[in-house]
Point group: C2
Chain length 216, copies 2
Amino acid sequence: MPVKGKKGMPEPTLRRLTHYLHLLTHLRKKGITGISSPKIAKELNLDATQVKKDIQYTEIVGRPKTGFDVDELIDSIKLCLDWNTHQDAFLIGVGNLGKAMLSYDFYYRYGLNIVSGFDIDEQLIGTYMHNIEILNVDTLVDLAGKLNVEIGVITCPASSAQAAADLLVAGGIKGIWNFAPRNLKVPDDVIVENAQFSQSLALLTRRLSEKRGSSE
Amino acid sequence: MPVKGKKGMPEPTLRRLTHYLHLLTHLRKKGITGISSPKIAKELNLDATQVKKDIQYTEIVGRPKTGFDVDELIDSIKLCLDWNTHQDAFLIGVGNLGKAMLSYDFYYRYGLNIVSGFDIDEQLIGTYMHNIEILNVDTLVDLAGKLNVEIGVITCPASSAQAAADLLVAGGIKGIWNFAPRNLKVPDDVIVENAQFSQSLALLTRRLSEKRGSSE
């Protein structure tokens, strides 16, 4: 299937598209069917030109006066992010964060279907969490190949993150969503998206300290 | 205290600084005391000029030949991110994600000290998780003011995220770290950093789909 939306979409645009999606989903629940880009900008406290440009990346066509149909815009953004179909994923590391991730409805919201969790803890192996079975990490490589799973989620501690990545790569996984605070070494054809909490915390604490500095 | 590092540090630089910090912390554990920016670039598969530029933002001074002292570079990055001192925070919503956050050692790594968790669940109120007491959300506003807490972490469901933000604002909180998939409305002087999983997932799934598209 061809990729929807313009190629080379900038990272900030992709991040903002998820904000638009949260807003639109919320508005749809409230029964709102149409919205314009200036209205979205106002709701999210963003620049209207920026929002317009971001939405143009999705290649949706707006209508004069009414703007966009909420349903169509949701679909259009989901197509861009490849969230309109489901994608199977494995999760490694069923500690506190792993458990939280298994309980989260990624499938319903974003099409991410966590098929199995993996751990080394004998107490966990064979149990189910939110209908997802926890398997022995030794079975991962074989199973990933058989099921043709493309995405691996790493929620184990930093100290075992590289070993987890190596297993995922050996299993033929194409994309790694890494929550461990460790930089992973993977072959060039494997995509790693670092989702460590530290990144957004850095943005928050830096902005707070700049604000404190400027008000002194 | 004046802000360390150059003003107007770009968001991608701040995100990358956390990656450098993870690497440096890892190297320090292994007993490595000095590193150059090309070496960091190579370890993280980044452009050397980019890494050099990022590090210049911290205003650290490198030494000819040996590059940077690992300890000094760690301190320098931490100063930039305001992670060298501790900052108190409240967390609202002690569900799966909230529990995971309470178990995570933000204090040791990033100086973020989660003082209390808040929830509406009677079963949780009065209990302790990882030595952090869970309190009734009704007490938040009063307590935030008394303790002069500046950061609020929102880990409740989307449906109650705005109510949580309103409480934090009423308590005088200056920065909100928002994990709920909902856009928050807050006064202009309150900083919101959206840390929803959906943002990084969007980057991963988009890049995967672009790769699939280009290899067809």
